[in-house]
């Protein structure tokens, strides 16, 4: 099972995403932004970082990259795509997901272990979660405030397109506490928190059980592996 991870100039978390895929039982395939060839992967991860130094707008230039153009095309045919943090911004700038992401309401970069509620467990990347399950995923962003027109928000709420919501605290001023979205088909998911940083005991977020024991992020990658096997 091959899952591609695209590296743009300024990407940070591509190696972490590759490692998460390996720990979940998949084979990570490094992909390069300038290369249109996606090497016949079964799914794609757009990792976190600061592609193109956040020039113009976060994710805007990466959305124009040859590899992204191919992702947009194949996502329309059902290819599972996960956008993490900057990858979420790329998905929004690519119009694969609606709305926009702006500077955090409080104007500060935020880095914390964030509690989320899984609102939609029927997507390619969330099918191993329980509906309304509460999970703990590290979050680190400066421009993570989700905004959208009122009609768009209404549509997202009505069609169960909000994949994750922030719980207990809204870390960046996102409308409706939105932490992540899915497209109508459920193959494209984008979120600000970083599931690839919660995949191995000893290196994840602190939980009531033990320090650094949180591995809730692993099921994002295990979900898509299961989805691809069943497809």
């Amino acid at each position: 099972m091959k899952i591609g991870v695209i590296t743009f100039p300024g990407t940070l978390d591509d190696r972490d995403a590759q490692r998460a895929i390996r720990l979940a039982g998949g084979t990570p395939v490094p992909l390069w932004h300038a290369d249109q060839d996606l090497k016949k992967v079964d799914a794609v991860v757009l990792p976190g970082g600061f592609s193109y130094g956040d020039y113009l707008r976060c994710g805007a230039i990466a959305a124009q990259a040859p590899a992204t153009k191919e992702v947009i095309k194949l996502a329309g045919q059902g290819l599972p795509v996960l956008g993490i943090c900057n990858g979420f911004q790329v998905l929004v700038e690519s119009h694969l997901l609606p709305g926009g992401l702006i500077r955090n309401e409080h104007q500060h970069f935020v880095c914390r272990d964030q509690k989320l509620r899984v609102e939609n467990n029927t997507t390619a990347w969330t099918n191993l979660f329980e509906k309304d399950e509460e999970i703990l995923i590290p979050l680190k962003n400066g421009e993570g405030g989700y905004i959208a027109e009122p009609e768009t928000l209404k549509m997202l709420e009505g069609e169960n397109r909000i994949a994750f919501r922030y719980l207990e605290t809204n870390p960046n001023g996102s409308m409706n506490d939105i932490a992540g979205l899915t497209n109508e088909r459920g193959n494209v998911v984008g979120l600000m928190p970083h599931p690839e940083h919660a995949v191995e005991p000893g290196f994840g977020p602190d939980t009531p059980v033990a320090m650094r024991s949180g591995v809730d992020g692993l099921r994002f990658f295990a979900s898509v592996l299961q989805q691809v096997v069943n497809a």
Binding site: A60, G100, I102
Partner: protein, 82 residues
């Protein structure tokens, strides 16, 4: 040099922290009459030849689709300058 100038502003109802900080500094410098500051972008597209109507149309399309994001910004003007 012939160029097309694209001007982009953050939407009116969005907080513009940069503009707010500059406004505060202007107030401190004694410019009490300035009620607000908003900061946008000016993007210049340079050409080594004369600009055609088709160039301008393409620039308008790129301004709307790529140079700005209509969720958070407005394209205020796309103009030609010789």
């Amino acid at each position: 040099m012939p160029k097309i100038i694209v001007e982009i502003m953050p939407k009116q109802d969005l907080l513009d922290p940069q503009g707010k900080a500059v406004a505060n500094a202007l107030h401190r410098a004694g410019n009490k009459e300035i009620s607000a500051v908003r900061i946008g972008k000016r993007i210049e597209l340079h050409f080594d030849r004369e600009i055609t109507e088709a160039d301008l149309d393409e620039a308008k399309a790129q301004a709307a689709n790529f140079l700005s994001n209509d969720v958070i910004e407005d394209v205020v003007a796309v103009t030609k300058e010789d």
